[in-house]
């Protein structure tokens, strides 16, 4: 399954992806982007929004 993934070293923590996520799956916690994998439905809105390329869709590793 693909889910959104944040690349912290690229991210400026602007929070725009939080606003465009239709699943309410992204939060800005302690100024870091946190993604709720359960809610993410792989729509890619955050990836298309991100001004710097800090969001990507990634194969979820089995925990």
């Amino acid at each position: 399954m693909m889910v959104a993934k944040n690349i912290p070293s690229v991210c400026l923590s602007c929070g725009g992806c939080v606003g465009v996520c239709p699943q309410d799956a992204i939060s800005l916690k302690d100024m870091k982007i946190v993604i709720d994998k359960e809610k993410c439905n792989n729509c890619g809105a955050c990836v298309r929004f991100c001004p710097v390329g800090a969001m990507k869709l990634d194969e979820e590793r089995g925990d």
Partner: protein, 409 residues
């Protein structure tokens, strides 16, 4: 001195209850806080960041009229540069210049400006708390009755008669209060900006706007001077339709303009989402109001949000104070804010949003055509939601643009 052990896990001066709690100490929140405090009500403002005003997500431009509305003169320490006009560049490079002959606006230092708004609100009696994040709302019989805040690892319940969300584009609390503030991707611009030093501008008193789908699809590149050789250099592009990241477009454009940037250095990097549409009919619930970027009250053409946010903060403050005096903070009573805002600002912004919907469908040759047909005053009028029938009349001169003219009706 108090005796005993000081508890460093609790925010200093925190009380259990306020008349009003405001989420976010940006311009909208602090402006709202000040006016409510001036009426003698108790207000707490919770800011999740460690510093009010930083990091900025803004090109920092604001009109002198907006500053004067807030009681400032434009000579305060937060003003970096006075602006007396602008240059606008069509995709084919054609240059338009407007000069007003006097200062019409300012580029401010948000790190100082936001603090000024907070200082003035605090002086009026509002209580500010940094590094304090609102994580949930409290409910009493279904009605919003306060918030849950987190400071470090500790959570506290804070009661309030009215909660105001001024929490910006990343806000989640309004959604918890039952207002869907999710931004459709089509209604958000991706913003990216450098603050640069040692760049070459022909006039530091002018703003610079560069249009074109090649350089900035459904948006523009800006240079907002903050001094003779310092400026915010940024881009806003539509989240739908762009093939590259905002940063890629901006970096490429900077590389292509060595005459401006050949010797320049980057002092700061900023990113941000700009809500350029999706105005909310209803911005209140029982005991709850949402304002500013969180409510998408941004000019959909130029993306400016400080004037809109502070104005909404003022209107919300007026309504909230009335409601508190009358002891009725129900949805019905607070809905007066909707009415006020839509009358004074919303109807205009709605028209500007329609204009945005037209412009985003224009190709570069259409933009060049419009640049020939329009004079600069038209452009200023359109951005203010005025005189759009003139645009419709020009659009219908080009058969393929007739359909777009109907959007403006």
């Amino acid at each position: 001195m108090k005796s005993g052990v000081i508890d460093i896990t609790r925010p200093v001066n925190l009380k259990d209850e306020y008349d009003v709690v405001i989420i976010g100490a940006g311009p909208a929140g602090s402006r709202c806080a000040r006016l409510i405090a001036e009426e003698g009500f108790s207000v707490a403002v919770f800011e999740k960041r460690a510093e009010i005003g930083a990091p900025k997500r803004c090109a920092e431009g604001i009109g002198v009229k907006a500053l004067q509305r807030m009681g400032y003169t434009g000579n305060e320490r937060f003003v970096a540069q006075h602006i007396d006009g602008f240059y606008l560049y069509a995709p084919n490079g054609k240059e338009f210049m407007v000069e007003y002959g006097s200062s019409q606006g300012c580029v401010v230092e948000r790190k100082v400006f936001d603090k000024f708004l907070a200082y003035d609100a605090a002086k009026a009696g509002a209580s500010f708390f940094t590094r304090t994040e609102v994580v949930d709302v409290l409910r009493d019989d279904g009605k919003i009755s306060g918030v849950v805040i987190r400071y470090g690892e500790e959570e506290f319940e804070v009661k309030a008669k009215v909660v105001v969300s001024a929490e910006g584009i990343e806000g989640k609390i309004a959604r918890k209060a039952g207002i869907d503030t999710t931004n459709k991707l089509i209604n958000v611009d991706s913003g990216y900006q450098y603050e640069m030093a040692n760049l070459t501008m022909k006039d530091p008193k002018k703003l610079y706007f560069y249009l074109g789908n090649e350089i900035a699809p459904r948006g523009y590149i800006w240079i907002f001077p903050k001094g003779e050789y310092v400026a915010n250099v940024g881009i806003g592009i539509g989240g739908v339709g762009a093939t590259k990241k905002a940063k890629e477009y901006l970096d490429a454009w900077i590389e292509n303009h060595p005459e401006i940037f050949g010797e320049a250095s980057i002092i700061e990097e900023n990113a941000g989402g700009i809500p350029v549409g999706g105005l909310l009919e209803d911005m209140v619930r029982d005991g709850f109001v949402v304002i500013g970027d969180a409510a998408h009250t941004v000019n959909p053409i130029h993306g400016g949000g400080m004037d809109e946010g502070t104005k909404a903060g003022e209107m919300a403050a007026r309504v909230i104070c009335e409601c508190l005096e009358q002891g009725d903070v129900s949805h019905n009573a607070l809905a007066k804010f909707n009415k006020l805002w839509w009358k004074e600002r919303g109807e205009k912004l709605k028209r500007v949003e329609k204009l945005r919907q037209v412009i985003e469908k224009l190709r570069d040759d259409d933009l060049n055509f419009l640049a020939e047909e329009l004079d600069v005053q038209d452009v200023i009028d359109f951005a203010g939601g005025k005189n759009l029938t003139k645009l419709a009349k020009i659009l219908i001169k080009r058969p393929k643009l007739i359909k777009l003219a109907t959007i403006l009706r």
